[in-house]
């Protein structure tokens, strides 16, 4: 067997899973003594170009409480056409279609290389993709123009059958009816009054009878679209014109006031519209905002410019009078959206805060994107937005919709919870731990929007009692079943089954220590810390983090008492303290010098990105470019600054470039080229600042 690092890399490559421990302590007591819990970073849709779609449905364990999917770890009796569930040990008959099964004729799901496998569900209708643009019009003309262009461009990136809709808002909220001939229609709503889905449905004339009346004979043919959400191919021109004609909100803004921006109601209407037209169907609400909500439910600041938007200071002093109410509003929206599988993206481009703190749950709970930039007229926004629509080699969007993730565990282990862009589905079951970490108490989560990078942190609890030793060679197995709506409209199920060896911590502590994945552990602990920071006081989190680190050192470090210099850490732990060091001073735990919005934004990114990106966020990467060779990583230290170097620091959120003494344009040009290579390879968000 290869080394652990190789094993980890291979596992990550194949299954998108990285465990904090790759050999698990076999009893509950021992597990708690490991300090870092048994946990995994799991990227449900990690890109697998080699994965053949399986055109049939998974075979499930027949035990009602189990329903695990047939996988390579199951024992199969080819003669009796039976298989034993490796989670509950239930013996199951193969379905009739598996009649031809034999040792030489195995279905893919039994092959070891298909520990991750993807089924394509054939039944059910093909669901359209739905994109609902929610556009703020209270912004400078230049910004609005840039935004309009981006939006128009995006239409060309959508599949022709995708449904699109447009809601614009300023002082009022307008829901645009699409595909009108001769006259453009829109429904207008007051920006100060929240409406529930039923009211909205009535007001938009979407109730069944009324709709039938309103549209007369044409109702029947197209149940899947309505006046507000129509296929791109049909209303492409119309919508392009409509976007082109968008004007800045015409209501006068007097000196010393902010424009009245009905963001809360606009989002509520967007959620309501989808709620009553496309429940449980993948849909993206893309919100573009140029400033904070200043009126109605969800307002985060008054329209008086002299009162600034809340700061951390205000919040600590309990002086942010709109915050609680607004947060509640957006939380309820997030709940409604996630219940129906809808994603809310927030593209906030403004110099000041826009209320991301209050709105964060909308993105965080629905798997939506949150983008913060200074202006829609920046390449940051433009490219980021464009990248949302990137496609894979098959030409499908990388994004996926309305997923549910179910975790099944073997008996010795239970799942405590998840931290990431998901919400609980409150599915109780035998594998749910009583001990909650993050979003717990369930073995199923809903992830409304996900892409290949979306990564959840899942925490487990070893429940095996100390006095019930696991038989030799026993393995703990975990199965991740991810059902989602592929961007082609298909329903797909991806099943990842993975297993780890048990080890008695008293006798085999070495092998457990050797299986430690310090990168994964750092991120897992960091997510936990951020999660606590969001819900608890900051300093306490830091203290907790410190204590955890100390305990880990106690447990796995070699030292002589009272002799600091004697401390030694094995290689598998050596980087961990450094990660913690950076984490402590990262914007994820420190709010100093960051606005509440920025903190929310950083945490949002941190909670959904995969391990590599998350590590960069915690500990920026510093590359040195010189003319003497390829770029090389150097230490995050002032000693790295040399006159003949160009330094590039990638913090994930920002790229900082130190020019050193670059002498001429040619050099700069060369550098820029290299930089672009880097940028393309990297993830979503970059902001280029040169100094």
């Amino acid at each position: 067997m290869a080394t652990f690092p190789e094993y980890i890399a291979q596992n990550e490559e194949r299954d998108g899973v990285r465990f904090s421990w790759n050999v698990w302590p076999s009893s509950r007591l021992e597990a708690t003594r490991m300090v870092v819990p048994v946990a995994a970073l799991f990227s449900p849709l990690r890109e697998r170009t080699d994965l053949p779609p399986i055109q049939y449905e998974p075979v499930l364990c027949s035990r009602a409480t189990c329903r695990a999917v047939l996988n390579p770890l199951c024992q199969v009796d080819y003669r009796a056409k039976l298989w034993a569930c490796n989670f509950c040990y239930q013996r199951n008959q193969f379905p009739p279609s598996y009649a031809g099964i034999s040792e030489v004729n195995q279905p893919a799901e039994l092959l070891p290389q298909f520990s991750t496998i993807e089924y394509v569900v054939q039944r059910g209708p093909q669901m359209p993709l739905v994109f609902l643009y929610v556009v703020d019009t209270c912004m400078e003309d230049e910004d609005l123009q840039a935004l309009k262009e981006s939006l128009q461009m995006s239409l060309s990136l959508l599949p022709p059958t995708a449904l699109v809709g447009l809601i614009t808002f300023g002082r009022m909220v307008q829901v645009h009816e699409l595909g009108c001939e001769g006259i453009s229609k829109s429904y207008v709503f007051r920006g100060t009054k929240d409406l529930n889905a039923k009211q909205l449905q009535e007001m938009l004339g979407l109730t069944k009878p009324a709709a039938a009346q309103g549209r007369g004979p044409q109702t029947a043919p197209q149940p899947l679209s309505n006046r507000f959400l129509q296929p791109v191919q049909k209303i492409d021109m119309n919508l392009t014109d409509l976007l082109g004609e968008l004007q800045r909100d015409p209501w006068p803004v007097t000196q010393g006031k902010r424009p009245l921006r009905s963001l809360g109601v606009a989002m509520s209407i967007a959620v309501g519209l989808l709620e009553c037209t496309f429940p449980n169907t993948g849909a993206r609400i893309m919100t573009f905002i140029g400033g904070p909500a200043t009126q109605g439910p969800g307002m985060v600041v008054g329209d008086e410019l002299k009162t600034p938007i809340r700061s951390w200071h205000d919040i600590e002093k309990d002086n942010a009078k709109f915050m609680k109410k607004a947060t509640k509003h957006y939380e309820s929206l997030a709940t409604r959206a996630s219940t129906n599988g809808h994603i809310i993206d927030i593209y906030a481009c403004a110099l000041d805060q826009t209320g991301l703190l209050e709105m964060k749950c909308c993105s965080n709970h629905t798997g939506g994107y949150m983008v913060m930039a200074d202006s829609f007229n920046t390449s940051l926004f433009k490219q980021t937005f464009q990248r949302v629509f990137t496609k894979d080699v098959q030409g499908s969007f990388k994004m996926a919709f309305a997923a549910t993730l179910e975790v099944k565990t073997s008996r010795e282990i239970k799942v405590s919870g998840a931290i990431g862009p998901c919400v609980s589905l409150s599915a109780k079951g035998p594998c749910v731990s009583e001990n909650e970490i993050g979003t717990g108490g369930t073995c199923q989560w809903k992830i409304c929007g996900l892409d290949p990078a979306t990564t959840l942190a899942l925490y487990f609890e070893v429940v095996n009692q100390h006095n019930a030793p696991i038989p030799q060679g026993g393995r703990g197995a975990i199965q991740f079943v991810t059902q989602y709506q592929h961007s082609s409209g298909q329903r797909r199920i991806r099943v990842t089954t993975t297993a780890r060896n048990w080890a008695d911590a008293q006798t085999q502590i070495q092998s457990i220590a050797a299986s430690f994945d310090q990168e994964a552990a750092a991120i897992l602990m960091a997510r936990l810390a951020v999660y606590r920071a969001e819900s608890e006081e900051g300093p306490d989190v830091l203290r907790w983090l410190d204590r955890q680190l100390i305990r880990l050192c106690q447990k796995f470090g070699d030292y002589h008492k009272d002799d600091p210099n004697s401390f030694r850490f094995s290689e598998t732990f050596s980087l961990y303290p450094q990660f913690m060091f950076h984490l402590r001073r990262s914007p994820f735990l420190q709010v100093f010098n960051n606005s509440p919005d920025e903190s929310s934004y950083y945490r949002h990114q941190f909670n959904r990105q995969d391990l590599t990106q998350a590590l960069i966020m915690i500990q920026p990467v510093l590359y040195a470019y010189s003319f003497n060779g390829p770029p090389e990583p150097v230490l995050l230290d002032s000693s790295s600054i040399l006159p003949d170097r160009i330094l590039l620091m990638d913090t994930f959120f920002q790229i900082l470039i130190y020019h050193g003494e670059v002498r001429n344009q040619a050099e700069l040009h060369l550098f820029t080229k290299q930089f672009h290579l880097k940028e393309n390879a990297s993830d979503l968000i970059y902001c280029l600042r040169c100094f």
Binding site: Q174, K185, V188, G214, W251, P252
Partner: protein, 1034 residues
């Protein structure tokens, strides 16, 4: 009667007293004596009054000027100008018989318009009309001579008389010849209504039944019959009367006449037509307003006005031009003191509209204390450095820039250069101080809100409106015809949600913005909703083309209403301007929204104490909304197209409170009602209108404006607020004494209306009016204007039904009128038998008109009158001026047998008796226009009018006459067009064939007859009044 000479006090006495009356016949002669007919100029004329000259004298002296009508049952001497009606009619029958003979005999010559109760057949109580001209006019009547004796003749102008229902026997003989004398008869003229009509009937027509038949009308038989019957089975009044059969002539009437005979001859009672015609005849000179206390010609008369310091009667008409000096007098007489003001009235082309005066930055010069505006009543003193206010007597400095020297009479030398010093009506340019929020107003806006629910689309209303609006956009009101109107326009359609339209000129196509949250209305857009027509013409036309298409297939039947007005209001608020909403609405707003209504049509309530609730709005929402509208200067005009009950009483609240109008087209059908609707709409859009107006009436010490009637809102007791004020709206103002007035200074009133013109200019329109004051009741009665009084009474009563049982309102009216007349009888008429009904000359039509008010659909609904109609009429009357109320209550009925170019045929009285089977008549009420065709009309006439020779072939569903190339047809259509042009609402023509079912509707407007709903006939009502008066007197 000495006075006679100076003034032709013409009093007509109708003495019904049997004995006397008979004598009268002869009396004519005798009467003559009393007032030397010839010698005494138009002295009083007596009918019947054989008599006692002496008695007259008293009258004469005191009353002379006033014209009166006396109805004396007994042979009372005819007081001078008075008409005496013999109460006899009732009591008298018996006595009549005898008298009759005299009449017949008397016939000829004596001009006496005595209305003797005809012989049995003829109406017993005859009312000789005797209306001397108002005292004020005396001078003008040249024909004094004619007076007494000629009475008949005068009035009789044979020519005029078309259908001669029989007037007075008297006329008969002589009249014809005298007919020509008309002018002379001036005095009488008023009274002599019968005369004219009575016409042909030569010799004692009345008496002889046979002769009647002769009457051209062909109704003679009816008359007789009718009367006979009437007596007995009197509908309304019959009951009571019988009890007191003899009012007037109890004593005298010894002879028990057969009941059938108890009748008043309709020709003998005061005839509106006669009064109208007489007034026309005497009003040949332009009316100058300089003389204080002078009553203007009647509203039915065409006359020119010269403003010499008082407002033209087109702007202000008063009930009394001679106000009693004290509150006691006023109370005693019960004559309402009121003025009907029509501030923005349109003047005929030959009269100059009010001049616009600019007093510069300081604004109009005003009295320091009472704030009255500079006017001819301000007295300049101290060489012109100060002026004393005519209203409150306070002395105010003249600002330097306004200083001018005085001439030797104490007038400013520039007096005649300045409208505000020499005219009764003029305008001031208002300064920013007079503007809301101290900001000059924005140009006003018109917002069209169109119902696009199923009914609206199906009836064709939507497409008609949209089509028409395209043209109308070019006819928005403007002051300078050369310029484009600056009024901006906006469009909204709605059913149970509202659709706003963005028609900004930069758009390629209009945008529709749907607001479905009607519970909390707001305006979804700012820019592009209200636009300049010229800039956005293409977009607007595109929109108006598309609206009918867009909703062609709608199935939405529910509508909202409150939010519609809110929407318009909010739009005006957002644009910070005043304006007008044109709402085109079809149905009861039952959709869930503020102002939602339920169907509460419950005819069972009619006649109960709860009836008033039917006139009240069913929810308070609209009152609140109206208040907000007024605050913003948002006037609402409502066009209703109901197919069923829509609750006009509630929907009309906002229009009525904002100075708007309600138009109602029940069962609207594109084909037949389009023309009427479009004409109304065009007129409504184009007519001159002011916005955001406030009217304040200031008066001189002693009286005070206490009550106001009309379409407006009042938030305090003095300011009449009108979100919109157009040229057709009139406000009736009631005055009460709060102190004594002096005869010397008279009473002054100044009505100032601050408004924003349709060109967006803030202005003050000032109307000044001075009237005389009197300490003698007789003077009061001599200078009243019955038409204006009726205007006041109708508005008073129609408002009364909101809070009182209808019956109580009716009783109050009758009471007050009885008191007015009784007071006159007691204080101004000569002592005479109690049985004699004596009416003041100026008010001799009060009973007939009052009866019309009492019989109106509002106060006495027939079974077929819907609640909506009543509410509609009630609201409609509330802002009518005198001209409109006059024709509304007493419709104009023209015989069309002969038409001459240049003049209209003389109207006939509104009674079926006046219709000839062989004739064709045109009747107009200001709202309706009927063409009645007799069953045996001549073929030639039919050919001329309809192009068909047969009565049976006339298509009674036609709404316009065929265009035929003959002079008759042309002239007839001309007449119809001219009628329509005179009225503020387009009248749809209904052709009614005699004995057709539709005739019922037509008959409803024959107001002198009994009505189906139980309204009394004129004759009966007069008797009833007489009874009431007698009760008061006794």
């Amino acid at each position: 009667a000495p006075p006679h000479s100076s003034q032709p006090p013409v009093s007509t006495a109708y003495s019904a007293a049997p004995p006397p009356s008979y004598t009268q016949a002869p009396p004519p002669v005798s009467s003559a004596p009393t007032q030397p007919p010839p010698s005494g100029p138009a002295a009083s004329q007596q009918y019947y009054g054989s008599p006692p000259p002496p008695s007259q004298q008293p009258f004469n002296s005191s009353l002379p000027p006033t014209s009166q009508q006396q109805f004396t049952s007994s042979s009372v001497p005819p007081p001078p100008s008075q008409q005496t009606l013999p109460p006899s009619s009732y009591s008298g029958p018996q006595s009549f018989p005898p008298s009759q003979p005299p009449f017949s005999s008397a016939p000829p010559p004596t001009s006496q318009p005595a209305f003797a109760p005809g012989p049995p057949p003829t109406a017993p109580g005859s009312f000789p009309p005797r209306a001397p001209p108002p005292s004020s006019q005396p001078g003008s009547y040249p024909p004094p001579t004619s007076a007494p004796s000629c009475q008949y003749p005068g009035p009789l102008p044979p020519q005029q008389q078309p259908p001669p229902s029989q007037p007075f026997p008297y006329h008969s003989g002589p009249p014809p010849p005298r007919a020509q004398m008309p002018p002379t008869s001036m005095a009488q003229s008023n009274h002599l209504p019968p005369g004219p009509q009575g016409p042909p009937g030569p010799p004692g027509p009345l008496q002889q039944p046979p002769s009647q038949p002769g009457m051209q009308t062909g109704y003679p038989p009816q008359q007789n019959g009718a009367f006979g019957q009437v007596r007995g089975p009197q509908p309304g009044y019959a009951g009571p009367y019988p009890g007191q059969p003899n009012y007037g002539a109890p004593a005298p009437a010894p002879a028990p006449a057969p009941p059938a005979q108890k009748r008043l001859d309709p020709d003998a009672i005061p005839s509106p037509i006669q009064v109208i015609e007489d007034d026309k005849a005497k009003s040949t000179e332009p009316f100058t307003t300089g003389v204080r206390g002078q009553a203007p010609p009647l509203v039915t008369t065409n006359f020119q006005v010269k403003d010499q310091g008082n407002a033209s009667p087109r702007f202000v008409r008063c009930t009394a031009y001679n106000m009693p000096c004290t509150a006691d007098m006023a109370k005693q007489s019960q004559v309402p003191l009121a003025a009907v003001v029509k501030p923005l009235a349109t003047l005929p082309p030959d009269e100059t509209p009010p001049y616009l005066v600019d007093h510069g930055e300081g604004g109009p010069i005003r009295c320091n204390r009472c704030k009255a505006y500079m006017c001819p009543y301000m007295q300049f003193i101290e060489g012109g450095r100060r002026f004393q206010c005519g209203f409150c007597s306070c002395v105010t400095e003249v600002p330097p820039h306004y200083f001018q020297h005085l001439d030797h009479t104490g007038k400013r030398v520039d007096c005649y250069d300045r409208p505000e010093l020499s005219l009764g009506s003029y305008e001031f340019l208002a300064t920013v101080d007079y503007c809301k929020n101290n900001k000059l107003p924005q140009p006003p806006a018109f917002i069209f809100l169109i119902d696009v629910s199923y009914n609206a689309v199906k009836s064709g209303m939507v497409s008609i409106v949209c089509q028409e609006l395209k043209t109308l956009m070019d006819y928005l009101p403007r002051e300078n015809p050369e310029m484009d109107s600056i009024v901006r326009v906006g469009f909204v359609t709605y059913n149970k949600v509202l659709h706003f339209y963005n028609v900004k000129s930069s758009l390629a196509q209009p945008q529709m913005l749907v607001v479905s949250d009607v519970s909390d209305m707001f305006v979804p857009l700012l820019d592009g909703f209200l636009v300049n027509v010229n800039e956005s013409r293409l977009v607007i036309e595109s929109l108006l083309d598309q609206i009918p298409e867009m909703f062609a297939d709608t199935r939405e039947t529910e509508t909202v209403f409150g939010p519609v007005i809110q929407a318009g209001l909010e739009a005006l608020k957002a644009a910070d301007c005043a304006g007008k909403l044109f709402v085109f609405h079809t149905s009861l707003p039952i959709a869930e929204a503020p102002g939602k209504l339920k169907n509460r049509e419950d005819k069972k309530l009619i006649g109960t104490d709860k009836e008033k609730s039917l006139f009240q709005p069913q929810v308070g929402f609209y009152n609140t909304l109206a208040k907000e509208c007024v605050a913003q200067g948002c006037c609402v005009d409502l066009f209703l197209f109901p197919n069923q009950y829509v609750d006009v009483a509630t929907l009309g609240v906002v229009p009525v409170s904002t100075g708007g109008s309600v138009y109602k087209y029940t069962y609207f059908q594109a084909q037949s009602d389009q023309e009427r609707f479009l004409n109304d709409l065009r007129r409504d859009v184009q007519k001159p209108v002011g916005f955001d107006a406030v009217m304040r009436v200031r008066t001189s010490t002693g009286i005070r404006a206490t009550d106001f009637f009309g379409s407006f809102f009042m938030s305090n007791t003095t300011d009449v607020e009108l979100a919109g004020l157009d040229c057709d709206k009139a406000i009736t103002v009631e005055f009460k004494h709060d102190d004594k007035l002096s005869e010397e200074t008279g009473a002054l009133m100044q009505c100032a209306v601050l408004y924003t013109s349709c060109s967006g200019q803030r202005r003050l329109r000032i109307h000044n009016m001075a009237v005389n004051c009197c300490s003698q009741l007789a003077d009061l009665y001599r200078n009243c204007e019955t038409d204006t009084i009726i205007n006041f009474f109708s508005k008073y009563a129609f408002r009364g039904v909101l809070n009182n049982p209808t019956k109580a309102v009716r009783d109050t009216l009758v009471n007050q009128c009885a008191q007015i007349l009784a007071c006159y009888r007691k204080n101004c008429a000569s002592p005479s038998s109690a049985g004699q009904l004596i009416l003041p000359e100026c008010m001799k039509l009060l009973p007939v008109y009052l009866n019309c008010v009492l019989k109106s659909d509002v106060l006495l609904p027939g079974a077929d009158v819907s609640l909506d109609d009543r509410a509609y009429l009630r609201q409609l009357i509330s802002c009518m001026d005198v001209t409109e109320t006059h024709v509304f209550f007493y419709p104009r009925l023209l015989p069309l047998m002969k038409l001459e170019s240049g003049s209209l045929p003389v109207a006939v009285r509104d009674s079926e008796e006046r219709l000839s089977k062989g004739g064709v008549y045109l009747l107009e009420t200001g709202l309706h226009l009927f063409l009645w065709v007799g069953a045996s009309v001549q073929q030639e006439l039919l050919l001329n009018i309809f192009g068909t020779p047969s009565f049976g072939q006339i298509d009674s569903s036609m709404t316009s006459l065929p265009v035929l190339d003959n002079p008759f047809s042309q002239r007839l259509r001309e007449i119809i067009d001219s009628f329509r042009a005179q009225r503020s609402r387009y009248m749809k023509l209904m052709v009614v064939k005699q004995e057709d079912r539709a005739e019922l509707i037509f008959r409803h407007f024959l107001v002198e007859d009994k009505s189906v709903s139980g309204g009394a006939s004129y004759v009966d009502f007069l008797c009833h009044m007489h009874k009431e008066i007698r009760q008061l007197l006794s």
